[in-house]
Symmetry: C2
Subunit: 324 residues, 2 copies
């Protein structure tokens, strides 16, 4: 392994000079720079990032905690975060919590050990106290952690409004909302509260099906959909996450329900799966890329100490389809 001092010796200069050349800092005469660069090339020098990190107490690595990778919403979020971090010369350390006993705790410990400069946290935490004594920068992605941790999220209230208006425009009288486990504190809960409020105000009946914690895979939704149509045979509209609505679409077809004529289905999230079936599914689209970019910008501001308050909320919009 060739170190900076090896390059220095080869070039006949001091290590500090090599450092200056590498990092294009300070003043170095053209002549010595050439010498140093030649030496680096000759010895195939590659600097140690770890040593650099120790010296600068900075790793250019951001940790990302999400429940799952192979889920349409979180998958798109992770992809967008990775791209946004890459654009800022940062690496992404990924942790998924859905199938791990203590994954979140372990990961937060790692953060404390300063192996990452900051964290973007979007898992469905049950134990929010984990974050109480973390000193490093954290941005919460669509989650409430505690009141010192800022949170980037979609304007879900608006999302709920868009959904309600859509159902009302079609004259729906009985909506069922498929919602996530309510023990998790997330702004996303706003969308179904607000949709329900607006629908109620117009005399529409609203029922709710609550999923268990971390149950957001297709089979869970398929089972829920079965149950839903059995329990509420006269439902004429369903609102829920993409996969929940995809499941409803298929169960409804099997039951011979006509979509959209006597059943309106509206997906919340608007990921690629809503474009992947026989018919495109109408959806309220969360602007995932923008949310990811905002999260990255915020967490890096915190890391760099250039944090400035600003918008933490981004508006959703309707993605048209054939189901509502």
């Amino acid at each position: 392994m060739v170190r900076i001092k090896d390059v220095a010796k080869e070039a006949g200069v001091a290590a500090s000079t090599v450092s200056l050349v590498m990092n294009k800092k300070g003043y170095v005469s053209e002549a010595t720079r050439q010498k140093v660069e030649a030496a680096m090339k000759k010895l195939k020098y590659v600097p140690s990032e770890v040593a650099r990190n120790l010296s600068l107490s900075r790793t250019n690595t951001i940790g990302v905690i999400m429940p799952s990778v192979s889920h349409p919403f979180f998958g798109e979020v992770i992809e967008a975060l990775e791209a946004a971090l890459y654009d800022q010369n940062c690496k992404m350390m990924l942790c998924c919590t859905q199938h791990k006993e203590n994954g979140e705790r372990t990961f937060v410990d790692m953060l404390k050990r300063r192996t990452m400069d900051g964290i973007i946290m979007g898992a469905h935490s049950l134990d929010v106290s984990l974050y109480a004594d973390v000193q490093q920068p954290i941005v919460a992605f669509d989650r409430y952690l505690n009141d010192r941790i800022p949170i980037v999220h979609c304007n879900h209230k608006k999302g709920g409004q868009l959904a309600a208006e859509r159902f009302l425009a079609h004259g729906c009288r009985h909506i069922v909302e498929v919602i996530g486990y309510q023990g998790v504190q997330t702004p996303a809960n706003e969308y179904h509260f607000n949709a329900a409020d607006i629908l109620h105000a117009h005399g529409v009946r609203v029922d709710v099906v609550e999923m268990p914690w971390n149950a957001f895979d297709y089979p869970s939704f398929a089972a829920a959909a079965q149950q839903l149509f059995q329990q509420y045979p006269d439902v004429d509209g369903v609102l829920g996450a993409d996969l929940a609505i995809a499941a409803c679409l298929h169960v409804a077809a099997a039951l011979g329900r006509r979509v959209p004529d006597d059943l309106r289905l509206l997906a919340y999230d608007g990921t690629a799966v809503t474009r992947m079936g026989l018919e495109p599914i109408t959806a309220v689209r969360q602007p995932i890329r923008e949310l990811a970019e905002l999260s990255v910008r915020k967490v890096l501001q915190m890391v760099n100490g250039t944090y400035e308050d600003g918008p933490w909320v981004i508006d959703p919009f309707i993605l048209d389809g054939n189901t509502c």
Copy 2:
């Protein structure tokens, strides 16, 4: 920030003793251990992972390079890799190459800088020479890089055989294979070669639709499917990646083709999307979790210098459905 020497001073011992206690190494008397632990607790000491990494020249981090996250196959692979790495106390650094100009090169550079102990590489490299002078351990995931880099993969030849036999059992006479860009060197190419060979041997006509490089999203496949049925109206069987077959299923339905009666559709990969439609799609399933665990085991063997030759290949199997 509290350092190891602060703890040492507080406990009235030397730094090295604190180190021994932390890492549960060597012999430390019960009394001093208690003192040290009390001091750590009192000062809320958290060791610096970076300093540790420099000292040990080891980061317990493995880099993972894949084309995409929000793709059913790669998403499941990444999820499985993350879980397998977690089980081995390793962190995962993730890089996606699909939408980046020079992502792969940048990432390999990072590996050279020893910020990761090794790499699991599954991207669709066009420039395999990148890997020529990397010293650190690399395992290729279903890709040929060069002859010094071992490669973990599914037994695709067997996969092709399973597929061919399935079509033959149903008496198909004209199969179309939707395949990936052939400029990428991957064992996965084996499956359609072998399927075609076996089908040819039984007098079955086989045509091929080749996708462009890195075009494996649903819209690309939907366009290809349109084209496919137009160009080969008498096709009675299609073999291709999950999303390709999902697209065929929907296009076929729109065209009024009856599946499976006059059109057999067989997906290759068998990810969750094949279970997510109106009907489950029959598939050749790659054992993703096993492949991920094997890749992790191998790369860590290399890192630890305990590398031993062994199985690099895992058999696929048929996942039943209603389309073939």
